[in-house]
Symmetry: C2
């Protein structure tokens, strides 16, 4: 345990989730045996904590065992528990970090994102419910409302006196938000709007807090005004604040909410549906920052193109995506820390020489299951820090961002969300399997984490759609996504811009120059050389982007149907390009973080983790590298050997590596680490022997 | 819907799991639009139903909506519900199929395994609880008890008048059963045995039915008798029947049961722990078929070696493994059928030409996510049928089985369990993701299936350990696993037997000759040629087995520690050999089934599915095929193109392919297939357009 976490309140006996009547035989109180390991963990933690280390530490110290996801509650009890937790959060000072000072906030986007990320160690229901209230609902008002609306609502939103929800998704439209069906029609008589659900598929669905707690909904709807001839004129999707429940919790007239009931996880979040039957709201309900309607029903906007306006308004979602990626990354680190600790104290089969049981982590396969994932979790944590820094700068100094940098940030927010949430599902599943039967017992937390993170791959943008967005940005089509180009124009546009965009961007960076200069032996290039690794990842990305652009060229001059066919038959290629881009970008953030680390021992370990991250990419995609003559068979084989060796080597330091995650010690007070199936602490302290 | 399922009772309105207050807008009543599709589905179903088609049909007709995994119950309510279902099963005539006629059964192992498999479509808690009662507990008595014991217990076991559990696993020993710690010590004074839990890690753990319902436990324990000097002599693991609860459900003296409480799934199964404090049982408690103790405490056995005896007694587990693989395969097929149906009626983004939403399955990526998994589910279903046939023959005609054939059967039972349960977890997860937000709502069943099957990778043998077993059998070390060889001897033994075992076995088969003869163009070999496919898979397996044996040779003459190091550093290689073997064996079962199919239209489709199965293997392991110069880069690239094309082609018939699974129609009466987010039936009947 690092010095930072030592100051925490020790877990109280009654916080133990042990089953009644079941003995507890000792306790892995943890902490590496040697002082130098603790020092190393502390240095690694510094790198992982990043710029918002102080916010992390404050949050860490405020964490208590009763914030852990509770077991054995009914759904309604769990919902009530989560609402109570939200009330405590409201008084913690954290939510106001996310709002501007002029709105009663503290203007610290990085701080609030960091704090919410850390809820991923404890209870993802609380994280999601908090994200709905302050990130999405509060964020919509903050980003899209005028000064008057912000002043009217935000203090109550921050203090939790007003609970809200974010009503975007509909039963029929999940990913295609631009085509959602709910309408907000200007009513000339009252000067207000009429909110309506015109078809069954237009019902708002999967909305967090809609089933029980929300009193007001931020409703996304097609904004319709009468044109000069009195015909409806659609200005695209806008957001309006619509009261849905009275103080007693009853649906308001014209509003019908219902409850999704049980879900695969996140049982503490009350997801529900909302239907509107010609619900009237006053004129000021429209969040009018980017589009307004005057009392005569005349529409005006500072942004001319419907697409561009939509795209700007969706800015609200970016923080949500960053937050979801961050919290699922935290959950994955928690799962890995649990599995690593278990693998050091759980023994199976006796060693032929000593006759003593062999700790699980001494097995090659167990090392292969856990250590590359530990390396990836470092990579993603550091990339997540980078995107939080970027978003924080954007929110405080938007003037530093031209269109291109802004799009790049948005693309990376989407890509890292898709990459990390997918990684979290995979990793928590593997951690659960790696803990055998114990991993399946809910008391050991892994199954709840797996169930809760599962939907992170779907909400705040489906991962497939997001990764496609990343790739489209790369091939220059991102502009068209929210512009008014049709598919054909998109393709034409793509052709003119692809080529060397990647090279140009990456190679302009000083890190690139530094790393490439460091390559000593170009003929006999080494996969453990940082510069070669970068070249390898950049080259793969370039090739994929260039070849996919060439395929899309076939659509030139074709009609819509044929152009769609061309796009669709290249979809797997497009997604591959997006993933390759994210691999390269994540790698760069890892390399930057190593550059910034000043502790030689920590740098040595981070270097190994970064190597393992790259080797895992190479091993996982070796078919591609061989097919495209990027690596010889000798080198791919060498990569696999190196992957195994490095996994073994880092397994010898596994406990230190997961201690650096600085997860509160009470999280590990689970039966599988304390009962009779595992070593007593004295033995555990010896760790894994026989490793390189 | 195939003709077989049309005769079923239509779902009654009150079986609809729709949330109260939520409208239901129509219903995908399903069934392919064209009569020829229904005919094709029926022919495919014949192949999938296999030899026990009649048992399947009987079970299918007996299935009702109230057998579906219930939603929204508390754990205790769910347990009670499952026990009620077990009571209904007890009167269905199915459980007796699993027992010999002389024991009051009907002697139809294939029939009972098939019926239990089909519970995987409905509720895995019921399947597991039934497996514990009749498969494991009943199976232990049936296989290990003498005539008197069988007559005394089995009628009540079959009728469910006596509920039991199978107490093998301990907190400290999961995979290493041979070294479990519970003791059964002969007591000269009474002539009985004393059952004891000597250490905390010896507590029986994760035992199904131990928390609540079981009154008797089949306890696996080290059997100890006094030797001539009065010192304890350990004869290895034996099984004894130990009463644990009285009629009122209270623990008997010396027995302490406790409850694991909530798990990641299977909430209807009451898993618990059992501790024994010097519990006395009479002499007849010992299931003495393979090892007995006389009234003087003298041990005798028809099998001399402790290892061989242990191995024989573990025969009980084989049926369990086959059953677990089969049921998780059924769950995977259910998940795929749900996801395929959803992908045909759920639309996202508008087609640029028609302006109409595009069904999910029209997207390349969606085809890639679902169709190779549909092909694999056919492969595994057919392989599962083959192993059931083999096991049924073994149980009815053991004389047909020499040691080698028996070991092969056991190895394949282990391997198919590992392969299919891993596949099921992956596939149900992917199916859930492919259904977006709807997939996460418990009412649509996917999340419960995912949570329930998760532990199938762990119980009845951890998948890693089982796949290792498969590989060890291949390299001739299987004998040593349960014999008395130490690690060094195992290695030496391995060296003498490996080499051409694979070739020899496969190439002796008539199918091999037939397929290889069919290869027309050896120079320009085609990946869609069945003979080439077999050569490719056999060759990979041979190479992996040979090279891993060569690596293990390094251990020759080394001491135990060094030998372990050699083994351990080759563990990933060993597992890869096991997986390659199972791929080849599953492929062969697929090819056999196609050979046996007489309907030309069905053969055409099965051929495509088999091709897709092989292409998926090649694409997933192309790095290996390239590294080892088995395929050129041109051919691996061609394999990927063919994989895409075939996925698209089969997507056009996806509904028929999943209809052939012949899952009762009421399983698809879920909100996501009936509510406003998806097409009305009239539109859905048109299916996916624009596919090749």
């Amino acid at each position: 345990m690092t010095s930072e976490t030592e100051s925490q309140t020790p877990p109280t006996p009654d916080s133990s989730p042990g089953v009644t009547g079941r003995p507890v035989f000792g306790r892995v109180t943890g902490g590496p045996a040697r002082p130098e390991d603790a020092a190393l963990a502390a240095e690694l933690q510094k790198t992982l904590d990043g710029r918002w280390a102080r916010a992390r530490q404050t949050t860490r110290e405020a964490m208590t065992p009763d914030m852990l996801s509770p077991l054995g509650l009914t759904m309604e009890e769990h919902r009530a528990h989560v609402l109570t937790q939200l009330g405590l959060l409201a008084t913690s000072g954290i939510p106001e970090l996310g709002f501007r000072e002029e709105d009663g906030g503290a203007g610290d986007a990085g701080g609030v994102l960091t704090a919410f990320e850390m809820l991923g160690h404890l209870d993802l229901s609380v994280m999601v419910k908090a994200g709905v209230q302050w990130g999405l609902f509060g964020g919509a008002i903050s980003n899209l409302g005028d000064a008057e609306t912000r002043a009217r609502y935000l203090p109550d939103v921050i203090s939790l006196d007003l609970l809200g929800c974010f009503a975007m998704t509909e039963l029929g439209q999940g990913s295609d938000v631009q085509n959602l069906e709910t309408t907000a029609t200007f009513d000339r008589e009252t000067g207000g709007f009429v909110i309506d659900t015109p078809t069954p598929s237009a019902e708002k669905a999967y909305i967090g807090s809609a089933a029980r707690d929300a009193r007001v909904a931020a409703v996304f709807a097609q904004l319709i005004t009468p044109d000069e001839a009195g015909e409806p004129d659609n200005h695209g999707v806008h957001c309006l604040l619509v009261p849905i429940r009275d103080e007693a919790g009853n649906d308001l007239p014209g509003v019908t909410t219902s409850d999704h009931g049980l879900k695969g996880g996140l049982l503490g979040v009350d997801n529900g549906l909302i239907r509107f039957d010609h619900v009237r709201v006053p004129h000021e309900a429209l969040l009018n920052r980017f589009g307004d309607v005057d009392s005569d029903g005349l529409y005006s906007s500072s942004i001319e193109s419907d697409g561009a306006r939509f795209f700007t308004m969706l800015g609200t979602l970016i923080r949500g995506r960053v937050s979801v990626g961050a919290a699922s990354g935290a959950a994955a680190r928690t799962a890995l820390a649990l599995a690593v600790r278990y693998s050091l104290v759980r023994r199976q089969f006796d060693h032929p020489e000593t006759g003593k049981g062999i700790p699980l982590l001494e097995y090659r396969e167990h090392q292969r299951r856990l250590m590359p994932r530990v390396a990836r979790s470092y990579a993603y944590a550091l990339a997540q820090n980078a995107i939080i820094e970027e978003l924080d700068e954007f929110e405080t100094h938007p003037e530093n961002f031209d269109v291109r940098r802004r799009r790049e940030m948005e693309s990376h927010a989407a890509g890292i969300k898709a990459a990390v949430t997918g990684f979290a599902n995979d990793t928590i599943s593997e951690a659960r399997l790696a803990c055998g039967g114990a991993g399946y017992m809910a008391e050991n937390r892994l199954t709840t984490m797996r169930a809760d993170t599962d939907v992170f791959s779907t909400f705040e943008g489906d991962n497939v759609v997001l990764m496609q967005l990343v790739a489209k940005e790369l091939i220059g089509a991102y502009a068209a996504e929210f512009g008014n180009m049709d598919q054909r124009e998109t393709v034409a546009f793509a052709l003119s811009t692809v080529a060397d965009v990647v090279q140009e961007k990456v190679r302009a960076s000083t890190l690139w120059q530094k790393l490439v200069d460091s390559v000593t032996d170009r003929e006999n290039t080494d996969l453990l050389d940082r510069g070669n690794q970068l070249e390898l990842l950049v080259d793969r990305e370039e090739h994929l982007v260039e070849t996919v652009a060439r395929r899309l060229r076939k659509a030139e001059g074709e009609d819509g149907a044929a152009a769609f066919q061309v796009f669709n038959s290249a979809q797997d290629h497009v997604l591959r390009a997006g993933r390759a881009h994210m691999d390269r970008w994540v790698f760069e953030q890892f390399a930057h973080a190593i550059e910034a680390c000043e502790d030689p021992a920590a740098v040595e370990v981070l270097d190994m983790l970064c190597d393992l991250f790259v080797l895992d990419i190479v091993d996982g995609d070796k078919g591609w590298f061989l097919e495209h003559n990027r690596l010889t068979t000798e080198r791919t084989k060498a990569a696999t050997v190196a992957l195994n060796r490095l996994s073994t080597k880092l397994a010898g330091r596994a406990r230190t590596l997961v201690d650096a995650f600085a997860i509160p010690e009470f999280v590990f007070d689970v039966p599988m680490l304390t009962d009779g199936g595992v070593d007593a602490p004295s033995e555990a302290a010896q760790g894994v022997g026989g490793l390189e």
